[in-house]
């Protein structure tokens, strides 16, 4: 299947002096999809985004944005892109409403009706001076400006920083709506629930390199699921099945984690034991993520789920 790509990054490199911020990073956002971009602070997410916006020049690899060169075609591409920074900086002596208008006018697609609608959704007072806005309200200004635009691609860098849970919910709705309208979204985030709910694909990076990418299903496919089941027989037989790990038993209730390809063998071993109430839990995004950073949730904790 050939799909058009809104963002295509291959082997991207960027150094600041001796620091290799990006060291062979790959990232793809299919047109019309929502792509999650995960990584801890300092792993290179914002650097990647700044290269995509033509604010930084890459040292190696290729980066394509909506089919264009993000550095050379910056101005033309930016008409089709809306960007929300993790910490939106505004002009302190202008109001939020004025800032939204200026940014819309810069892109050339300012639509007062759409702005009003998103102002109401995000419950933002546009007549206050930016200097009196809280962190969350400054984020809202950026989000309203981005969602109210007609940009084909939204690049959101930890955009819900400082928003309350209610507003995070509204943000989720707005992203879904944008996707339904055929727009593409690159969402860098720390919030696993947000990414799990919204994103079609996920890219996990570490030290400027992509360590995992694909759909959530694909990522899960490679990882162990956790199974909890009540049995009548003796669980010791299960312990001998290859690919089954972390077996615990408590009054006939057993928990273990299992490699995807070992599942048939486990089922065969389980059947004679009279299994009841079997619950299979796929790995959460958090577990997938933490696995790449050497910080595993303690095995007993996983088994207890």
């Amino acid at each position: 299947m050939t799909e058009t790509l809104a963002v295509e990054v291959n082997g991207l490199k960027k150094s600041f002096g001796t620091l290799h911020a990006l060291d062979g990073l790959d990232l793809r956002v299919a047109t019309g999809s929502v792509a999650g971009f995960l990584g801890p602070n300092g792993s290179g997410k914002s650097t990647t985004i700044r290269v995509l916006l033509g604010l930084l020049r890459s040292d190696g690899g290729t980066a394509r944005l909506l089919g264009g060169d993000p550095w050379r075609d910056a101005v033309e591409l930016h008409r089709r892109v809306a960007y929300v920074a993790g910490d939106v900086t505004l002009w302190p002596n202008l109001t939020g409403g004025q800032a939204i208008d200026i940014l819309g006018a810069l892109r050339g697609d300012l639509d007062a009706k759409r702005v009003d609608r998103f102002l109401q959704l995000f419950d933002l007072d546009p007549t206050k001076k930016a200097r009196s806005y809280s962190k969350g309200n400054r984020q809202k200004v950026g989000l309203v400006a981005a969602f109210a635009s007609r940009a084909e691609l939204l690049i959101l860098d930890e955009p819900t920083n400082g928003l309350d849970p209610l507003m995070e919910g509204i943000f989720t709705d707005c992203v879904s709506e944008a996707q339904a309208a055929g727009r593409s979204v690159l969402l860098s985030s720390h919030i696993f629930a947000e990414v799990e709910k919204l994103c079609d694909t996920v890219t996990i990076i570490r030290d400027g390199r992509t360590v995992e990418s694909g759909t959530l299903g694909e990522l899960r496919h490679l990882q162990r699921s956790t199974i909890t089941v009540t049995i009548d027989g003796d669980p010791t037989a299960l312990g001998k099945v290859p690919g089954l790990h972390n077996l615990t038993a408590d009054n006939g209730r057993v928990s273990f984690s299992v490699d995807e390809d070992a599942l048939p063998a486990v089922m065969t071993a389980l059947a004679p034991l009279g299994p009841r109430g079997l619950i299979s839990t796929p790995p959460s995004l958090e577990e997938l993520f933490l696995r790449h950073y050497g910080v595993h949730p303690s095995d007993t904790e996983v088994a207890a789920r």
């Binding site: 604010l55 930016h78 208008d101 810069l106 892109r107 009196s132």
Partner: protein, 552 residues
């Protein structure tokens, strides 16, 4: 009474006592905290103000060396302009009285602004930034921080008073008069500490607090100007008593040396601080009393353009510099004739002004015209330096991630100072020439000096181009380098002769290479400077397009 009752009663007494003491818990620590964060700026103010007193006494002693000179001056000192600007002159035949005419009002206004800014900086600005909340969340009394702030400002005013007194005595002025003069500075300053204490409680923003207090200062100045204009002899009208500045004037240092208006000032200051404490007692942390001012919901069509946005963001800078430059133009033009009379003989000072011109008066005005141009260049640098400051504070990233090229963005920020400075050169030069022309009955001087000033436009463009160049090539040092080079050029242009530098250096800087009024005009220097300006701008723009975003 049982033992238990007695215990309860003593506990409640303790509670009552400690509750009132708790309002000021941590006062001493806050004093040290505020001193630690402000001592440098307070020291600079003190040295500058005391230094000005010493300097002015010295220059006036040179200007009016004998008692006859001073008596003669006293007969002409009392003009409406002097009364309106610097107060009604009295004791004008003494050196102390002359010092008051020349400097008293300047020190009072400067010191009042200093304490207003100091009180706001440590008061409302801290609260706005959320740091007061941080402190008040710890073990700190409700009023400890505010009271410490006002006490430190009061101590600062007192130190300035003592230092100016010492400076005056050191210059040989009578001790009692000097002490009363110092006290009059302190008296006005403490009233404005009280004013700033109250406005800091009323307004929610530091800008608002400063603006309100400055408005009170302006009203006080206006009231006393009215009173001084309505004076009978050397006694201003009763309106003067409505102005804290008037109270300071009524101490009549070096004249009658009255102390009691000082008590009035201190009493009013204490009253204002008490009012501020009361407000602070019942208002919420972070809130003000005055409503938060709202702004427009939409950007106007002008604001949606790059030039409109740049103009709007620099509105107060532009207005401030325009007022300053135009006022300086009129001032320079007005005093030129009087100063030329003082410039006699062959002193090095005269040499500075003379330059290459034949006529002393003409060259003096030409010198002033160049000083005016240097002011305009300072504005242009400050305005163009937003190319760097916007990139450092992250707002360049906000705009560069939209559909605007860096070159277009930066060009707008060069165009605004270029056009505004062109206007200022024309109007400032014209005003300088016209006000000079008025004193010599020559209406032709306005256009002549407007043209002479405009000849410096390429030089101002050169400074803008240099700022652009620095912002692109040395982003982190751009501001320091731009201003450093400017400062160097100012010293070279104004006082190059004093340092005995070779002529080819002095005559070939961006400002001195331009032919002055009275010299023969030549277009070549202007063309060379213009070409360098364009070259620097182009090199800067090219680099800005080629390099990474360099935020702080």
């Amino acid at each position: 009474m049982t033992t238990a009752q007695a215990q309860r009663s003593s506990t409640s007494q303790q509670l009552g006592r400690s509750r009132s003491a708790h309002g000021f818990e941590g006062f001493g620590l806050m004093i040290r905290f505020i001193l630690r964060r402000n001592w440098v700026r307070m020291l600079v103010w003190t040295v500058v103000l005391a230094g000005m007193v010493a300097l002015v006494v010295q220059t006036q002693r040179v200007a009016f060396p004998t008692q006859e000179d001073r008596d003669a001056y006293a007969t002409i000192a009392n003009t409406p302009a002097v009364a309106a600007l610097t107060g009604i002159p009295y004791a004008a035949s003494t050196l102390g009285g002359i010092l008051n005419i020349k400097l008293w009002m300047t020190v009072v206004i400067a010191l009042s602004l200093a304490v207003i800014f100091l009180v706001t900086r440590n008061g409302r600005a801290e609260e706005e930034a959320g740091r007061t909340e941080l402190l008040r969340g710890g073990v700190l009394g409700q009023h400890a921080y505010s009271l410490a702030n006002w006490v430190v400002a009061g101590a600062f005013a007192f130190v300035v008073g003592a230092a100016t007194t010492a400076a005056a005595i050191g210059q040989g002025l009578p001790a009692l008069g000097a002490a009363v003069m110092g006290a009059s500075f302190v008296g006005v300053a403490v009233v404005f500490i009280g004013v700033a204490a109250v406005t800091g409680q009323l307004s929610q923003t530091s800008r608002g607090a400063n603006a309100l207090a400055a408005i009170v200062l302006a009203i006080a100045y206006g009231l006393r100007a009215t009173a001084d204009l309505q004076a009978e002899g050397d006694v201003p009208s009763a309106v003067s008593w409505a102005s804290p500045i008037g109270w300071g004037q009524q101490m009549r240092s070096y004249g009658e040396n009255l102390w009691w208006p000082f008590a009035l000032s201190v009493a009013v200051a204490v009253l204002l601080c008490a009012i501020a404490l009361l407000v602070e007692r019942w208002r919420d942390v972070g809130e003000g009393i005055l409503p938060d001012r709202r702004g427009p919901q939409h950007a106007s069509a002008l604001l949606r353009t790059q030039a409109g946005l740049t103009l709007r963001l620099q509105r107060s800078t532009i207005i401030g510099w325009a007022v300053g430059v135009l006022a300086a133009s009129v001032f320079f033009g007005t005093v030129a004739t009087a100063m030329a009379g003082l410039l006699a003989g062959d002193s090095p000072i005269t040499q500075i002004f003379l330059g290459g011109a034949k006529d002393v008066l003409d060259s003096l005005v030409g010198f002033f015209a160049m000083a005016n141009v240097l002011l305009i260049a300072a504005f242009a640098i400050q305005s163009a330096d937003t190319i760097r400051s916007e990139e450092a504070n992250g707002r360049a990233e906000l705009q560069w991630s939209h559909a605007i090229s860096r070159a277009q963005w930066a060009l707008t920020r060069m165009l605004v100072p270029a056009v505004i400075s062109l206007v200022l050169l024309a109007t400032g030069g014209y005003l300088l020439g016209a006000s000079f022309g008025a004193s010599v009955n020559d209406p032709g001087q306005g256009p002549r000096f407007a043209a002479a000033s405009l000849a410096y436009w390429p030089s101002v463009l050169l400074m803008i181009g240099f700022v652009m160049f620095c912002a692109a090539w040395l982003p982190r040092f751009a501001t320091a380098v731009s201003w450093g080079v400017y400062g160097f050029l100012v010293v070279l242009s104004m006082f190059g002769d004093l340092f005995g530098l070779p002529d080819w250096v002095i005559q070939n800087t961006p400002f001195t290479a331009v032919p002055r009024v009275g010299e023969d005009f030549s277009a070549l220097p202007l063309i060379v400077i213009g070409v360098v300006a364009i070259a620097l701008s182009v090199l800067g723009l090219r680099r800005l397009r080629a390099r990474d975003l360099a935020a702080e």
